[in-house]
Subunit: 184 residues, 2 copies
């Protein structure tokens, strides 16, 4: 399974966990979630649905007379629900490090009802953000924004640092809430 496929499939499974949907509606929800960043083509979505159906993760019922063309209402099977939870609990490394993929995981992490499992995933992201990395190096030493002369490269580091700090503070707050036995 290719990596992009994994993320699209996660979104499909995640949306269907909320409610059975037909393909077209799924497409619109995925467009709302990630479409402003990176659109998904129809000819990518429908094959993905087929793959998941073939794998027994979702079932389709034809719904005649409803819309213009015969709709296929998609429902998660029990295996599909289990698979969704497994993928959310054990994301690949790229899903942790690539912001696009990470946001997709976050968007459906609530479906993993166990707070400690949720916390584990957040901690992986935190470990990644805490380690010293840069986009630019001098030998092995990661360069800070101040050390880079090119204003555009400096911008990358400035923006990345702001994101990182905002996310770390959010992660700390959220992990505190997840771990506290008295949820508000």
């Amino acid at each position: 399974m290719r990596h992009n496929a994994a993320m699209l499939e996660l979104a499909i499974l995640g949306f269907l966990h909320d409610a059975p949907l037909h393909g077209y509606e799924l497409r619109k929800r995925i467009a709302a979630l990630t479409g402003h960043v990176k659109p998904v083509a129809e000819s990518t979505l429908y094959p993905a649905i087929k793959r998941l159906e073939k794998a027994g993760l979702l079932a389709r019922r034809p719904q005649p007379g409803a819309g213009a063309a015969p709709r296929h209402v998609l429902t998660l099977t029990a295996e599909g629900q289990a698979e969704l939870r497994h993928r959310l609990a054990h994301p690949a490394d790229v899903d942790i490090t690539d912001e696009n993929r990470w946001f997709t995981v976050l968007a459906f992490l609530r479906h993993l009802d166990d707070p400690s499992a949720q916390a584990e995933v957040l901690e992986r992201r935190m470990a990644f953000l805490r380690q010293p990395w840069s986009f630019f190096y001098e030998g092995d030493r990661p360069l800070r924004a101040e050390e880079v002369e090119d204003p555009f490269r400096r911008g990358i580091l400035t923006i990345a640092r702001a994101t990182s700090q905002a996310e770390l503070s959010w992660l700390r707050r959220t992990l505190d809430t997840l771990r506290s036995p008295t949820e508000d």
Copy 2:
């Protein structure tokens, strides 16, 4: 040309504009630039080099006796330099909206020596960041972080907002500098 390919190719052209390199060194530089977010496989890089060579954008000279295996030193041709400048001046929409791709554009934008052309590209990013979007909607209305109950989805919006604000302020500062006739 597929979209991922375009970004990898941009990085290759950008690095080679600085100095002729062999494939292995290129691989390490690309890994430093984007590898902590999304690693690039060798079997993706070498075919990409071949594509660019076939298109006449770069030339390879064998460098015998240098390393362990016979190295191929890669140099940008004149067409390659022109192509690099063209790709930097006219990025696709996805390159503006997808942070990963955008950072790759930024990393090499200095090779576009014309400040007003650089400013034009930054303005496209600014226009994107300024328009009202969200990852979640109520009908057509984009939802703000405060309106979302799910803590994880709220996190996405919180982080995205922080990034957006940091980037907008950086964009404004940089555009001022680019436009001011007296560069410091």
